[in-house]
């Protein structure tokens, strides 16, 4: 048996991945490397928030109202405590609030994109591969939805869903309702892209070769077509992540998103806005900068990925 053993084959794959075109184009672009570093930094500190945050902004017992409105890097007039990024009106450390806030923003963003991706990819695959009336129905729904701004759709779905949930469960369910609402407002991109790619792939001869041996359509879709249409999906998912984070921030800013007991970056910006004209600029500035850095970096990564995966742009 002359087959190469599994572990050496894995090493071979890793070596090849490092040597691939995509890795090369990554190493050649300082902007992309900076963006990737920022994304990793924000995600890492969000995941590790309970270990690196100086305070727990959700625990009222650790808060001291006298610490309120401490400016960044200055000792508080009453307690003498110093905070890197200052505190808000209730004496909450802005840095800790950002760490915990980006946790929620990222979780909602990731979950919403995964939901939108699973929904959009499945519907696009079905529409493109099977065609006929199913294709017509799915794509008409998508067209109608595209004619509305996605924030409006998310707002609408969020409002309707909240109406179905008993008031005592609303706060705990809010985050899941938000994920579904953002996901449902964002699946169309995935569905359209996947449908287009599927229409191309399904006529290729390797799909016919699978049909000749009598493989059922579901297996052909999953095993053959899906891996070949996932390239553009990864790009859309990356850019969609930035979009979902911004949508979540917008909804939270408008006050319909996550409850104030679990502030996301959007909630923090909404809270900070109240103090903008009274001179406490740090309460709104730092969460906004974090959101900006996160959304921009994810977008830059998405753009780079799109170019790197497109052989015509190399």
């Amino acid at each position: 048996m002359a087959f190469v053993s599994e572990s050496s084959h894995q090493k071979f794959l890793i070596a090849r991945a490092w040597d691939s075109d995509i890795a090369h184009s990554f190493r050649r672009s300082p902007l992309t490397m900076t963006a990737a570093f920022l994304v990793v930094l924000i995600i890492g500190s969000a995941v590790l928030a309970p270990y690196i945050a100086p305070h727990d902004p959700f625990n009222p017992a650790t808060l001291n109202l006298l610490d309120g409105f401490t400016p960044p890097m200055e000792p508080n007039a009453f307690t003498g405590n110093t905070y890197w990024l200052g505190t808000d009106d209730q004496g909450r450390d802005v840095f800790s609030a950002i760490l915990y806030g980006s946790r929620i923003s990222l979780f909602v963003g990731f979950a919403a994109v995964v939901f939108a991706m699973v929904l959009g990819v499945s519907l696009g695959l079905l529409a493109g591969f099977l065609g006929g009336w199913l294709d017509t129905i799915i794509m008409r729904v998508a067209d109608v939805q595209l004619s509305f701004p996605s924030i409006l759709i998310a707002l609408l779905i969020f409002g309707i869903a909240q109406g179905f949930i008993a008031p005592q469960h609303r706060e705990e369910m809010a985050i899941w309702v938000l994920i579904v609402a953002i996901g449902l407002s964002d699946w169309v991109q995935f569905a359209r892209t996947v449908r287009g790619a599927t229409l191309v792939e399904r006529n290729k001869e390797y799909v016919q070769a699978a049909r000749v041996i009598g493989l059922p359509p579901v297996l052909i879709m999953i095993r053959h077509v899906l891996p070949n249409v996932m390239g553009p999906v990864l790009v859309i998912a990356t850019i969609g992540l930035a979009l979902a984070i911004i949508t979540e921030a917008t909804l939270s800013f408008l006050g319909v998103g996550v409850p104030p007991t679990q502030p996301s970056l959007g909630t923090l910006i909404r809270i900070g806005q109240d103090f903008l004209f009274s001179g406490e600029w740090w309460i709104i500035l730092f969460p906004s900068l974090t959101l900006l850095a996160l959304a921009l970096s994810v977008n830059l990564l998405g753009d780079w990925l799109r170019d790197a995966l497109n052989p015509k742009l190399r």
């Binding site: 190469v4 001869e205 390797y206 070769a209 041996i213």
Partner: protein
């Protein structure tokens, strides 16, 4: 074709028909007052292939060769007619156990080796897919052994199994496609222009490989091509298709020595030949008519130098003209067209 009802051949194709509806949607048709557009891609095609033989279908682009192949492979359902392989009607449906049994024995090799291998699959997965789909071998060890054996058979190295298709050249890819087709131990392989996407030098290698495999495993081929030289090398019998119909069917030697149908004569006269350089050659006149609006009578009459009034109105039926040699032509029937001798012409 009286003798068709004698002992059944290994593969029997009987009056296969297929049309494609290219009309616009109903609403557009009503608004623009357009009639339905229906293409008769394949009309009344019948032939038989004996076990271990190669039957070739030749013809210009768009004459329905590939449609016949797709119907035989079960990729398209025939509108009328049947495909019978080893006395099982495979066009009757997919699900029955008997048809599934025959499906295992029927495989297809495609034209474009760059499109016929899934670019995201490793070669050993590609080759072993039919084995897994039909559940022929259970243990991973047996499957890996079989894949290595198949790779060796098509003169590739067993180590090539862990590579991906883009690491191979066109000829190597076509070998992989052949190994995959062989993996379910088929005895009938449909080859849809298997060499037309390859370099001439590679073509010869692939054709020789296919011939060797035929001798070794007693394979039966349906060989589709527009290249007469390739067909002459590979096939025992040839069917010439024009606009969805078989116009002439004969053993290879008979066809090349004594083609009867004016279309076949035209095709043979158009084959490039180095020794003929400098000489004027008979050109193929005109183009294939629009299959949406085929001519009445014999479909070839607008291009035929021998066309008579009868050709414009009456569809010619296949008549036997020589041993096992069938021609659908009024001119041949009425003895107006003499035997065309390509060999003699080329020698002059």
């Amino acid at each position: 074709m009286d003798d068709i009802n004698r002992t059944p051949a290994f593969v029997e194709v009987q009056s296969l028909c297929r049309t494609f509806d290219l009309s616009k949607p109903l609403l557009n048709r009503l608004l623009e007052r357009e009639p339905r557009k229906i293409v008769r891609a394949v009309q009344d095609v019948s032939f038989r292939i004996n076990k271990g033989e190669t039957f070739a279908l030749v013809g210009e682009s768009g004459c329905g060769k590939s449609t016949v192949a797709k119907m035989m492979a079960g990729l398209l359902s025939p509108e009328r007619g049947s495909v019978v392989v080893d006395e099982v009607n495979v066009s009757s449906g997919w699900r029955s156990q008997r048809v599934r049994q025959v499906r295992r024995r029927l495989q297809m090799i495609f034209q474009d080796p760059y499109a016929s291998l899934n670019p995201r699959w490793r070669v050993d997965w590609i080759i072993s897919e039919p084995i897994r789909a039909f559940g022929l071998l259970k243990s991973e060890k047996d499957i890996a052994d079989r894949v290595a054996e198949l790779l060796t058979l098509v003169k590739l190295s067993p180590e090539d199994g862990v590579k991906y298709p883009h690491e191979f050249s066109g000829g190597q890819r076509q070998r992989i496609a052949i190994a995959r087709a062989l993996s379910s131990n088929p005895d009938f392989i449909i080859c849809d222009e298997p060499t037309s996407a390859l370099d001439v030098s590679v073509q010869a290698q692939i054709l020789n490989l296919m011939k060797d495999l035929q001798d070794e495993f007693g394979l039966t081929y349906l060989f589709i091509s527009h290249d007469l030289a390739v067909v002459r090398y590979m096939a025992k019998r040839i069917g010439v298709m024009y606009l969805g119909r078989i116009v002439e069917e004969a053993p290879t030697d008979a066809l090349f020595k004594a083609a009867r149908h004016p279309y076949t004569q035209m095709l043979l006269a158009a084959v490039p030949d180095i020794s003929m350089s400098g000489k004027t050659r008979e050109r193929v006149q005109g183009e294939v008519p629009n299959p949406l609006d085929p001519p009445a009578g014999c479909a070839f009459h607008p291009r035929c130098p021998f066309a008579f009034q009868r050709c414009k109105t009456e569809l010619p039926l296949a008549i036997e003209s020589g041993a096992d040699h069938y021609v659908a032509c009024h001119g041949v029937d009425e003895d107006r067209i003499s035997v065309f001798n390509a060999m003699v012409e080329a020698a002059e």
